[in-house]
Structure formats: C-alpha cells, structure tokens
C-alpha cells in the first residue's frame, strides 16, 4: 500500500462517494421501476421527493468525480518522483496491471458522467420532467462503472511497489515498447496529421451544415484521432524532442502544465459536440463544441508553428 496525502484524499473521497452513490443507486432503481408522472398517488409524490434527493446526490458526485480526474492525474504525476524508474504519470500507470484499464475507464466515465449531467439539466428545464425515468435508468449501469472505477483505483494504489523498477515514459511510448502502444508507431505521421486536420475541418463544415448526428459522430471520432496525433506528432513539438511521445510529461511544470489545458479543451469540445445529438439547447452545444475544438487545434498547431519559426525546420 502506497499512501501520500493525495492518495489518502482520493481514498476518503471514494469512500464518501461510494456511500452516497449506493443510496442514489437504490433510489434510482425504485424511481426507474415505479415512476409515473401522470399519477397523483401518495407513492408518486414520495418518488418525486426522492428523485430530487437522488438527483442532487448524483449531480454532486459526478461533478466532483469529473473534476477529480485532473487531480488523479496530478497525483500520479506527483508520486512518480518516488517510484524507481518512473519519470512521470506514465511510469505509475505502468507500475501496476490495472493502471492502463483504470485510465481508459476513467476517460469513458468522464464522458458518461457529463452526459448524465446534461440529461439532468435538460430534465430540470422542462416542467414535465420528461427525462426523469431515463436519467435514473441511465444511472443504474453508470453506478457499476463508477464502482468499477473506485475498485480499480483502490487496487492500483494498493499494488504500487515503490522499490520495484518500472519503465519510464520514453520506453513505454516508443516503437520498441512491448505493449499495444508500439503498434501506433506503425502509422504514417503525415496521414495522421491529415486525418487530424481533416476531421477538424469536417467538424467545422458540419457546424454550418447542422447535421447533428454526423456532427456528433465526428466529435466522437475526433477523440482517438486527437489523442493519437498528440502522442505521435504534436507532443514532440511540445517537448521539442523528436523521440519523446509521452502524453503525460506535458502535465508537468517544465511545460507550464499545458497538458491540463490540452485535455480540458479536448474534453469540452468533443463532449459538447457529442451532446448535440440529444441536446435541447443545440445551438449552444454546437457553438461550445466548435469553440473548444478550435482552441484545441490552434493551441497544438501553435507549438508546430512556433517551433518552425524558431528553428526553420519541422521535426
């Protein structure tokens, strides 16, 4: 067991969240099974009161959990200093068998939690509360994903051995890596860059065409394309090193914590884009998606442009 104040904070928060999420889970099952907005029975009024309680609990857990993702990454980065061989969060993720699965699950959960919050906001904006049953039904599988995240997080921090040698990010994110990551390096960078800008331009195009389903799908597609481009191409310009591809190092102070901004912009842009397919305030989601995605693309492109202006060559 490896405990630092940050890890302890995560454990304590997870215990509190688990308690309240369990209450919300039982309320959700009950509401999902018995909800009937047209009824004026005593049990329906009771459910309406409980739905207010349940939704409030879920809302605050999911908002905090979403924001805590950045704190989780910060914690991994901080504890990398004491793990032999680790240079950044990548080493800590690699230090246990559950690290990589946990990161993937956390990213999936962030999007799902945000979708729940969006659905909740839409439900509250309508007098008839048309999405109440749906949002509590949606929380039922979400609860299990949340529970899996808490369990994996606990297992991960419990199984870190600080004196066991781990790989540094330089070897994990390279073509010689033994993991699935090495296969990424088989991709042609110029094709990948073309895909990156191409998918962004399609997002811009469908912003004007206003086909919400295609716009939503393009944003969904933009997530893996962006992440892979970041690892294979843009990251090297942030580090100004052609051989360094780590997606975690730029979260450190040496790079002015720019990673937090990069990932936040990508999340906000793609989330708003995906939510266009069911959002009531569609125009707002369209605009937010275009704004954050554009800022993301401009920010990454600036690193390439500035590098070229300073050195006269591309990496």
């Amino acid at each position: 067991m490896f405990l630092t104040p940050e890890v302890l904070a995560i454990f304590i928060l997870n215990a509190v969240f688990a308690l309240f999420a369990s209450i919300a889970f039982f309320l959700s099952v009950r509401i999902y099974l018995k909800w009937n907005m047209n009824s004026s029975s005593a049990s329906q009024y009771e459910l309406e009161k409980q739905s207010f309680l349940g939704a409030t609990i879920i809302k605050y857990i999911l908002i905090t959990k979403t924001a805590l993702f950045l704190f989780f990454i910060f914690t991994l980065d901080k504890i990398s200093n004491v793990i032999t061989g680790a240079m950044c969060a990548a080493g800590v993720v690699d230090a246990t068998q559950t690290g990589a699965s946990l990161i993937v699950l956390k990213i999936l959960n962030i999007y799902l939690f945000a979708l729940w919050l969006k659905l909740h906001a839409q439900d509250l904006s309508d007098k008839q509360q048309p999405y109440t049953r749906m949002k509590f039904g949606f929380f039922i599988p979400l609860f299990f994903l949340f529970a899996a995240e808490v369990i994996l997080e606990t297992v991960m921090f419990s199984s870190i051995e600080i004196d066991k040698m781990v790989s540094c990010c330089g070897s994990i994110y390279s073509s010689t890596s033994t993991s699935v990551i090495s296969s990424l390096f088989l991709l042609d960078t110029s094709v990948l860059v073309a895909l990156f800008y191409g998918s962004y331009l399609l997002i811009v195009l469908f912003y004007f065409v206003k086909n919400r389903y295609i716009f939503s799908f393009l944003n969904f597609l933009f997530i893996p394309i962006s992440l892979i481009s970041l690892i294979l191409f843009f990251g090297t310009y942030i580090y100004e090193l052609p051989s360094h591809h780590c997606p975690f190092c730029f979260l450190q102070s040496d790079y002015y914590y720019v990673g937090y901004l990069v990932y936040t912009l990508l999340f906000l842009g793609t989330f708003h884009g995906i939510s266009v397919s069911f959002s009531k305030e569609r125009e707002r989601s369209y605009k937010a998606s275009l704004l954050f995605n554009s800022l993301y693309v401009i920010l990454l492109s600036m690193y390439v442009v500035v590098y070229y202006m300073k050195n006269g060559v591309f990496l």
Binding site: S40, Y45, K127
Partner: protein
C-alpha cells in the same frame, strides 16, 4: 381556475405522529371569484393556501391552476409560478423592518430583472392604489399596524398577480382597519383578481361580494 381534486395533506413529525391536515378535499374556484375559507385553528385553511401557492405538495391528489398541475411542479418552476401568479397577504405582514416602505414593496420584483423605469412605474401604481405615496420613504417599523398591512397588500400586488391569497389578514387589526382592508380586497376583486381569504374573523362572513364561503373542520369540508 383553481381546482383541488381529492387532495390529502399529511404532516409527519418525528417520523411517528402523522397529522392529516386535509382529508380528500375537492373544490373549484373560478377566475375572479372572492372565496372565504372559514374554520377554526387547525382546520386546514392555511394548508389549502400553501397548496394553491405551490409552497407545499399534497400527499396525494392534484392541485391545478389554469389547467397546469402545479402540485407536480419542480421547485424552480413552482417559484416561477408564484412570482408571476401569486400575491400573499400574511397575518403578521412579514415586512422587513429595516427597509423602507418602497423597498419592501419592490422586493418581489428583485428576481424579475425589470428595468428601473418599469419598477418605478409599478411602484407608483400600487402606492397610489393603496394610498401610501406619502409614506414611501419611511421605515416600515415606524408605521401603524393598518399602514403596515397596506404595505403588505401593496407588496402582494406589485407583480400584478392573478391570484391573491390572504391568510388571517385582519388578525392584528382593529375592526375599523379590518373593514378598510376588506374594502381594499373588494377593489382588487373588481379588478378581476381571484381572491382566497383564510380567516376565522366574522367580519368576512356573509359579505355581499363574496362568491363562495367554504367551511373547513378538521381537514374536511362541511
């Protein structure tokens, strides 16, 4: 139109003692009607008012206002409904003693984001209507009971509500001031407002302009 359908309201104290304030009440109040709810303390009069105002929800049954099921409204919509449709007159006035008459009156307009001009126009209208223009800048704590009640009625009317709910409005007034208040309520009815008064003051019984008198006894209609 206000409609209560099979409304039951129970209050639970300490998770044990349940008090049934209303027992399957059904009633209808048409637009522009003046209705007096009679009954002793604890008969359920104030509960009826709080349900019409969407301040509380029934245990079962429905409350409808102009076709909207207000008993099903979420808190944010209930507040909006009250802001635009309901004016309250309370027994103890519920004025803020450290504010002036005009500051008290315009309080319900604070969340409505109106222009200063609109606020002043509305203020002037109610100050004139209830003859308190000359007291506009005085602190309410320096006013007499009758004047305070006029300020309370002016406040209830500042958002030009369709419905005025008055809960024992004459309980702290002498007979002369009570009659004056009844006159003011009559004028409001003449303006087309629906008025529901919960009272056990005999001055309200048998009023010629009242459309309905409903007597409540231990949560049931007589």
């Amino acid at each position: 139109m206000i409609k209560l359908k099979d409304v039951v309201k129970e209050y639970t104290a300490n998770n044990a003692d349940t008090v049934t304030a209303l027992k399957k009440i059904s009633l209808e109040i048409k637009e522009g009607e003046f209705v007096v709810l009679r009954g002793a303390s604890g008969s359920g009069k104030s509960t009826v008012l709080s349900l019409i105002a969407a301040l509380s929800k029934p245990t079962s049954g429905e409350v409808e206002v102009d076709g909207d099921k207000i008993s099903k409204l979420a808190d944010n919509f209930a507040s909006e409904y009250r802001r635009h449709n309901i004016g309250f007159v309370f027994q103890k006035y519920n004025l803020i003693s450290t504010l002036s008459v005009k500051e008290n009156i315009i309080l319900p307009l604070v969340p409505m984001n109106l222009s200063q001009k609109e606020i002043e126009e509305r203020l002037l209208r109610v100050l004139k209507m209830f003859h308190i223009e000359h007291k506009a800048n005085q602190l309410v704590k320096n006013l007499s009971g009758g004047e305070q009640q006029r300020v309370a009625i002016a406040r209830a009317n500042i958002n030009n509500p369709k419905i005025i709910l008055a809960d024992e409005p004459t309980a702290n007034l002498d007979e002369k001031l009570s009659l004056h208040l009844i006159e003011m309520l009559k004028e409001l009815k003449a303006e087309g407002k629906t008025i529901v008064v919960a009272t056990h003051d005999p001055l309200f019984f048998g009023l010629s302009f009242a459309d309905k008198e409903i007597e409540l006894h231990h949560g049931s209609m007589l």
